[in-house]
């Protein structure tokens, strides 16, 4: 402890020297007002030494001083000048508001390697507070949340901390909870704590005793918060501080000059009152604020509740949808007619799976494979999965003369590269002996040459033209063209004067429309072929267009997926156009789901080509089909998809059982090719493969119509007209090979 002459510059200069030579001096400047006299030493020597010496010098010095008004000290002994000091890089500035902080910050300041200015408040010296025996050091640069609240943040410095707490107590009485933050250190400032609080409350009041306007430290805090948390502020930041005037000596004037808890309360009221929607006068503002905050909390709780409700509804809806398999039928070239087995299944005798001996096949497996498209909106995997269900049944009943079928199903997402490599994988790596049960949007188009080169005779459910027009693919279904032929053929029998054929505007329409055009031309009825972009966005207009184009006594034939066809049919009904023309549809419309969605007004008004028998039909294969699904794949709905899979499985099994010798790719594919006169009640005519440049073995079909939410048979098996040149070719081949 050294007593010095009253020369602030000298005291500071000596302290800097002492600090640079290894001591840790604490110098005291009695009033912050006279730090002015030491500013040169402080700003130019102490603050700069470290940086200007390239880090060789450090000044671990503490300058302790006090400021503030309220003690009748007059203008020269009452100022708050901390913001002069915070503007000097190299100085740290702390302002304790409690006795414990004063001791703790002083300890940290002494330990700090840089010059630290500790600015105390003279009014706080007279407060009584409990302090631990050995006060813990308070880290420099760490703020303290003195009181937690959710409605407004009050950042208070030094003496304003107790004032802010008093204000908070009063506000709490009116339902406003204030978060009071004491930064304790101005440089470096703990902005994080302040911003975190503002993000919670959305409102900020800054209180210090220094002059508020023209560069009070509150301006800096406000600017930083504005930068960091602008979006979180619901109202402009309010600042509390002294007016821009010297501190008066007159006690009443000084009392008026010094900011206190009243000013903090008023500032809080102002910031809360700035919120839109609050129109109460300032004095009542706090009460109103509480109500508003309460209301907003209720609103957010409501929003959460509604969100939770809607989500649970969505899930419930989803669950319900999954649960009701009887109402599902997917989009595709062909779609399933769904009927619950219990209600409609006929009880006649059923065929057997394979040998039907009930013995598990244990021999060396025979490998078969399939590729099916499975992607959002298009899932054909039910087809091979039903084939697998049938194979499982065969394997449980003696297999292929004791050998089980091992079945590999691959799914594609209409990526040509992927489909090509899947085919190679199945044949080259998996070494499947045959391909059966597949149904891919692009497999035939991409791989038909590969299958040809490998000598594989594929049995499939076809969509692309290549499935019907190439030598190594034979589908069990009829596909869009021949099924459109069937629909046109039926509607021609209704003596329409004109036909409008409408299909989705996708690649391949030219191939499809060729059939209907040939048929209409042959019948001498004009046919207009129209394409509409899918998804259909203006079904009303399209329905009108079709009906107008068909004219009186005309017919409209649709070739769309069920959802698109449904849009048009429904729009027609809503506009009273259902009865104006005759309506027909290619095979995709053959689904109970559509029948149900259309409602009874279309019963007997819409004629749909059906490439397979009704899933609920009575017949040995139909009965077995339902039994197999029930036992081996209860999750797959009854419908034409699963029927196709079943038929393919049966054809392949039949061919494998009848062949002789080793099972090799050559012998198996020869056996497939040799299939001739395969009879099943699911198809109108016996199915065959044979050696031919094209295969349309399913060329005789039925017509169905909706009735009370289900599809029922309207016309029995009828040959697709050989006016379609492709069908003509097939009939010729059939004749030559003695089939059919």
């Amino acid at each position: 402890m050294r007593n010095t002459p009253i020369s602030e510059a000298a005291i500071t200069g000596v302290a800097i020297g002492a600090a640079q030579s290894g001591l840790r001096p604490v110098l005291e400047i009695m009033f912050v007002d006279f730090v002015t006299l030491a500013l040169d030493q402080l700003a130019n020597a102490a603050a700069k030494a470290h940086a200007m010496s390239g880090g060789q010098l450090s000044v671990p010095m503490v300058l302790r001083t006090q400021g503030g008004a309220g003690q009748r000290g007059a203008a020269q002994h009452s100022q708050s000048l901390e913001s002069w000091l915070t503007h000097i890089p190299g100085l740290k500035v702390v302002m304790p508001s409690t006795a414990a902080d004063a001791a703790g910050l002083l300890a940290s300041a002494i330990a700090d390697p840089d010059p630290v200015v500790v600015v105390e408040h003279k009014a706080l010296y007279f407060r009584r507070e409990d302090v631990p025996e050995t006060p813990a050091p308070v880290p420099i640069g760490r703020a303290r949340v003195v009181r937690a609240g959710r409605d407004v943040t009050i950042v208070a410095l030094s003496r304003m901390v107790p004032e802010a707490l008093a204000a908070a107590d009063r506000l709490a009485g009116e339902g406003i909870e204030a978060d009071v933050v004491d930064p304790r250190t101005l440089i470096p400032l703990d902005l994080e704590t302040i911003v975190a609080s503002v993000r919670r409350t959305g409102h900020l009041v800054i209180a210090h005793e220094a002059v508020v306007h023209a560069s009070g430290f509150g301006a800096e805090i406000a600017a930083l918060v504005g930068q960091e948390a602008f979006d979180d502020l619901d109202a402009p930041i309010e600042r509390v501080g002294a007016p821009f005037a010297p501190v008066p000596f007159s006690p009443p004037l000084e009392d008026a000059y010094v900011p206190g808890s009243d000013d903090v309360v008023a500032a809080v009221a102002t910031t809360l009152n700035r919120d839109i929607g609050r129109r109460t006068p300032a004095r009542n503002a706090q009460g109103g604020g509480a109500m508003r905050k309460g209301a907003s909390r209720i609103h957010s709780a409501l929003a959460v509740a509604v969100l939770a409700l809607t989500m649970s509804l969505a899930l419930a809806a989803c669950g319900g949808d999954n649960g009701s398999t009887s109402t599902s039928a997917d989009t595709g070239a062909s779609t399933g007619t769904a009927a619950p087995a219990e209600t409609t299944a006929a009880s006649g005798p059923a065929s057997k799976c394979g040998l039907g001996n009930g013995e598990k096949a244990t021999g060396q497996p025979i490998k078969l494979g399939a590729i099916a498209t499975k992607q959002p909106g298009t899932d054909f995997s039910e087809i091979p999965r039903t084939a697998k269900a049938y194979f499982d049944c065969v394997n449980d009943n003696g297999g292929i003369n004791g050998r089980p079928i091992q079945y590999v199903i691959e799914t594609d997402q209409t990526d040509p590269g992927q489909v090509a490599s899947l085919a190679k994988k199945l044949i080259d790596s998996d070494k499947v002996l045959g391909l059966v049960g597949g149904s891919s949007l692009i497999d035939c188009a991409v791989n038909h040459k590969f299958y040809e080169s490998q000598g594989y005779n594929v049995i499939d459910a076809g969509i692309a033209p290549e499935c019907y027009t190439t030598s190594n693919s034979a589908p069990v279904n009829m596909g869009p063209r021949y099924s459109s032929d069937g629909a046109v053929q039926y509607i021609l029998k209704q003596n329409v004067k004109k036909i409008v054929f409408d299909q989705s505007n996708v690649p391949g329409t030219g191939y499809i429309e060729a059939g209907p055009i040939a048929l209409a031309k042959d019948a001498g009825v004009p046919l207009e072929s129209i394409k509409d972009n899918v998804p259909i966005q203006d079904a009303n207009s399209i329905a009108l267009k079709l009906v107008q184009a068909a004219g009186d006594d005309g017919g409209v034939v649709l070739n769309f997926t069920p959802p698109e066809a449904l849009k048009i049919l429904q729009a027609a009904e809503q506009q009273g156009l259902a009865q104006r023309v005759k309506w027909a549809c290619s095979t995709p419309c053959n689904t109970d789901f559509l029948a149900e969605a259309l409602g009874s007004s279309w019963d007997g008004q819409l004629f749909v080509n059906a490439e397979l028998n009704l899933p609920s039909a009575d017949g040995p294969d139909s009965n077995l089909y339902r039994q197999v699904l029930k036992q081996y794949a209860p999750d797959i709905p009854l419908g034409s998809f699963s029927q196709m899979g079943f038929v393919q499985g049966r054809i392949a099994t039949d061919a494998l059982m009848n062949m002789k010798g080793d099972y090799t790719p050559e012998t198996v594919n020869k056996a497939f090719e040799d299939v001739k006169d395969f009879k099943t009640d699911i198809l109108c005519k016996p199915w065959y493969y044979g050696k031919a440049p094209l295969h349309i073995p399913n060329n005789t079909d039925r017509t169905v119509t909706p009735k009370e939410g289900k599809m029922v048979e309207q016309e029995g098996c009828t040959d697709i007209s050989a006016v379609d040149p492709d069908i003509a070719k097939v009939r010729k081949i059939e004749q030559e090979q003695g089939i059919g």
Binding site: F230, D231, D232, L233, D234, P236, D275, I276, G277, S296, A303, V306, L307, T310, L313, A314, A316, A317, C318, G320, D321, G323, S324, S328, A329, D330, T331, P376, G377, T378, D379, N505, E528, I530, K531, N533, P535, I536, Q537, D538, A539, N540, S541, L544, K545, Q548, A549, T561, P562, P563, E564, L566, K567, Q570, Q574, Q575, T591, F593, L594, A597
Partner: protein, 295 residues
């Protein structure tokens, strides 16, 4: 070329569809003006709402009215949740980024819809569709009337709301300059939330009407927003009344092109051809929206 008689019913379908285009366009313009976000998920949100309503009616056996309400509410809640979660962090980014972010929401919803409902044929017929009246030879159903009337009503109401209410004033201020508005004490977040919620409710209502006028199909309803975007673009994302007129015009052109079979196939281009012509015209002649009142 079809006769005048043949065109008449297309005017009805065109106006009905146009009304809902306008309704969606107005919902998008309001949101854009308050938040700077062009909400491309507008259609997807409405679509999902409609699907939920469908499931509530068909699987859960809820009364229709409550299911429709759930559809509209769903639109509001999802849009609001998106706005609350993604609005603030994206507030400072440019409009393209904000628009693309909403495309993300659209695709997520679209994926969720195909996952939950797959694309089976469904239909939802509002009770208003089953009743109608004849204008000359043309049958008009009440859903079509509602589509047109709601389009007009929402436009008028929204314009009045923006002009005369405190919240509307705040939205307009926000559209002008977000930072200054915030500095003046407008609770930006809350005003934006109101805009998101309002726009979301409109998306739910539009989804419900579209599912009826167009069909209940996820992809269709999601991408139908494109026509509404075109209407909003013609209005330069500012004027509500121009949006209304543009929506109607697009609906009409689309419908009237349908019976002319030679161009019928290309009518889906109509929104963009119209928008392109309008924007070319605008770039030469300043603005279509002389009505300052709607701003």
């Amino acid at each position: 070329m079809p006769s005048w008689q043949d065109f008449q019913p297309f005017i009805v379908t065109g106006l009905a569809l146009g009304g809902v285009f306008s309704l969606s366009g107005v919902g998008m313009v309001v949101l854009y003006r308050a938040t700077g976000v062009l909400n491309l998920a507008f259609g997807a949100v409405g679509a999902m709402g409609a699907f939920i309503a469908w499931s509530l009616i068909n699987d859960q056996g809820w009364p229709q009215g409550i299911a429709y309400l759930a559809c509209v509410l769903f639109g509001g809640v999802v849009t609001l949740a998106y706005g609350m979660a993604f609005g603030p962090p994206l507030a400072g980014r440019d409009p393209l980024v904000k628009a693309v972010a909403t495309l993300g929401l659209a695709l997520i919803l679209l994926g969720a819809m195909s996952w939950i409902w797959s694309d089976k044929a469904r239909s939802m017929v509002l009770p208003t569709t089953e009743h109608g009246f004849n204008v000359g030879e043309v049958l008009v159903n009440y859903t079509q009337v509602i589509g047109l009337a709601l389009g007009i009503a929402v436009t008028v109401f929204t314009a009045a709301f923006l002009r005369f209410s405190k919240l509307g004033t705040a939205m307009r201020a926000l559209a002008d300059d977000r930072e200054i508005t915030a500095a003046l004490g407008v609770p930006v977040r809350r005003v934006e939330a109101a805009a998101w919620l309002g726009s979301g409710l409109l998306s739910g209502a539009a989804g419900l009407l579209f599912s009826n006028l167009v069909g209940l199909d996820a992809a269709t309803l999601t991408f139908l927003v494109i026509s509404s975007v075109a209407a909003a673009l013609i209005a330069r994302l500012r004027s509500l009344f121009v949006t209304l007129a543009a929506g109607m015009f697009i609906g009409l052109v689309n419908a009237l092109a349908t019976p002319i079979l030679s161009i019928s196939q290309y009518r889906d281009m109509a929104p963009f051809v119209i928008a392109t012509i309008a924007l070319l015209f605008l770039s030469r002649h300043g603005t279509l929206s002389t009505a300052k009142g709607a701003r």
